[in-house]
């Protein structure tokens, strides 16, 4: 599945104009771009967009990598992308079942190269809160909770997170609670890509329809905008793979992402 499900056509179409690049495609494609050759990559529960990103990378990139998911699948070939990112359909075509205890233990012993982990709040050091908004003991909002983060973020070689809302209440100066620390390697939102540099999340590129200054004003932690380029547009293969995975657009509608 990693080789050429779409072949490059002779005539290369012009990249989509900035305004046409949907924040959904932007987010999924840029998550995919964190996947590296010959590595072990993992996507978990409550993680539709990283699941799509991993399946997209299998279709759009020529290199080989191992994709493990929370349903126990190892390099599965699911006939469809399921609504639930822990759905056992994600074991279709797998040659082994690598269950929950197994993939946590793999991560703990340093065998997980890239791990996609969710977050409600992220701070400038790449630590995350998935526990509670407000005081933990008297929460305004009780969030899903620790999940993989507290153990996987410090032990995975690299972890990448995403937020569907880019705002000062999600990208914060100070977390309400530190569920997991250890420094997210990457962060993708509908308008920007950040990468950890010397212990701080740095803006590395921005959606072409949004200015770096706009990104900074919508981010709760300090953002250096000097010399930050627009993100390279999705390739034809990336967009084709995404269209295959979301043929009727239901993931895009459910995500309901906005540039503004």
């Amino acid at each position: 599945m990693s080789t050429g499900s779409t072949t490059a056509s002779a005539s290369v179409p012009a990249p989509p104009a900035a305004a046409e690049l949907s924040p959904f495609a932007y987010l999924v494609v840029n998550l995919s771009r964190f996947v590296r050759p010959h590595e072990v990559t993992f996507s978990g529960v409550n993680s539709s967009l990283p699941m799509l990103a991993c399946l997209l990378a299998k279709r759009a990139y020529d290199f080989d990598f191992t994709y493990i998911n929370v349903a126990g699948g190892v390099d599965p070939e699911p006939p469809v992308a399921p609504i639930s990112s822990s759905d056992p359909v994600l074991t279709t075509g797998t040659a082994s079942i690598f269950d929950n205890e197994d993939f946590y233990d793999l991560c703990c012993r340093g065998g997980m190269d890239l791990c996609f982990l969710g977050a409600a709040q992220i701070d400038g050091a790449g630590s995350t809160n998935v526990s509670a908004i407000g005081d933990w003991h008297h929460p305004k909002v009780r969030l899903p909770g620790g999940g993989g983060g507290a153990v996987m973020l410090p032990t995975a070689r690299r972890a990448v997170t995403w937020r569907t809302e880019h705002s000062p209440r999600t990208l914060v100066e100070r977390l309400d609670f530190t569920t997991a620390a250890g420094g997210m390697h990457g962060l993708v939102t509908p308008i920007a890509v950040f990468t950890l540099v010397e212990g701080r999340l740095r803006l590395t590129s921005h959606h072409p329809a949004v200015t770096p200054e706009d990104v900074a004003s919508r981010t709760g932690f300090a953002v250096d905008v000097a010399g930050v380029p627009p993100t390279a547009p999705p390739t034809e293969r990336e967009l084709a793979a995404l269209a295959e995975l979301d043929p009727d657009g239901h993931f895009e509608r459910d995500a309901d992402l906005r540039l503004t």
Binding site: V45, G72, S84, D87, P88, T91, G146, G147
Partner: protein, 273 residues
């Protein structure tokens, strides 16, 4: 060959074995292969003060909070998953204080279960550094006694009174087999004092003898089992049926009637009629 008396029982009698105030670890993960027929029967029997222990609950704990059955929980991550996001009645129960929560990472909860399963008072767990969870839960870091200089977090043992799991096949003796991933069921069944099982079907022991390595739980560890076809509804049971999203939509309607309608629509309720 020794003949064992059958461990098969009715769903109501199985659930009657669980006293109020018990701690229960529930098999499966999120919307997948949970022992949901038992969860609903706990509600029907009006159980109280249960403690739920599970790395990744969702529908199950939400229903038990909604019906006032659960008063304490040790969990890793809780959500309805799919498109649904947060589990609404679980969320309300924590926010109102009706549910006393001990928040874990999935792997720390597993470490606690492993401690119990391995017969130890605690179990080391990697990671955790920098998290606020140790302070919240009183977890201790110890120095490697073999001199590496490395600090290791140790999680106290978690020994549930019951593990309840939903499996595909069971023998009359109580041997259990799961198709596809077993999620956390292996460690749950080793950590708990007693194991109760809901199965899709009872099969002949000869079937299990052909490939004994596929058996997840041997009969001597199982207290009793019941058979409820489609018992993991509205969740999935691989490869037999998928998640029934319209039924979860119905469950999520915020009205007392919707809960009663949901309970009445369950496979085990239909079977009884």
């Amino acid at each position: 060959m020794t003949q064992h008396p059958s461990k098969r029982t009715e769903l109501a009698d199985l659930v009657a074995m669980i006293p109020d105030g018990s701690s229960i670890t529930l098999g499966g993960s999120f919307l997948h292969r949970g022992p949901n027929a038992v969860v609903r029967e706990l509600v029907r029997q009006g159980k109280r003060e249960l403690e739920i222990i599970k790395q990744s609950p969702g529908y199950d704990i939400d229903l038990l909070c909604r019906a006032g059955v659960a008063s304490r929980a040790r969990t890793g991550i809780v959500a309805m998953e799919g498109n649904y996001g947060l589990a609404p009645w679980y969320r309300k129960a924590v926010e109102s204080g009706a549910l006393d929560l001990e928040e874990h990472a999935c792997a720390t909860l597993t470490a606690g279960l492993r401690a119990a399963a391995f017969g130890n008072p605690f179990q080391p767990c990697a990671g955790i550094d920098g998290s606020d969870l140790p302070e919240l839960n009183g977890w201790v870091q110890v120095e490697d006694p073999y001199g590496s200089g490395k600090g290791v977090w140790v999680i106290p043992a978690i020994r549930p009174d019951f593990a309840v799991v939903h499996v595909n096949d069971v023998t009359a003796d109580g041997d259990c087999r799961v198709t596809g991933t077993s999620h956390w069921d292996h460690i749950m069944t080793r950590a708990a004092r007693q194991v109760l099982v809901v199965a899709e079907r009872e099969v002949d022991r000869l079937e299990f003898q052909k490939q004994p390595e596929l058996t997840l739980v041997p009969h001597f560890m199982v207290t009793a089992f019941t058979v409820v076809r489609h018992g993991a509804w509205p969740g999935s049971c691989w490869p037999e049926y998928e998640v029934s999203y319209p039924d979860i939509d119905d469950y999520l309607v915020d009205a007392e009637q919707s809960l009663q309608r949901h309970l009445a629509a369950a496979p085990e309720a239909k079977e009884r009629r």
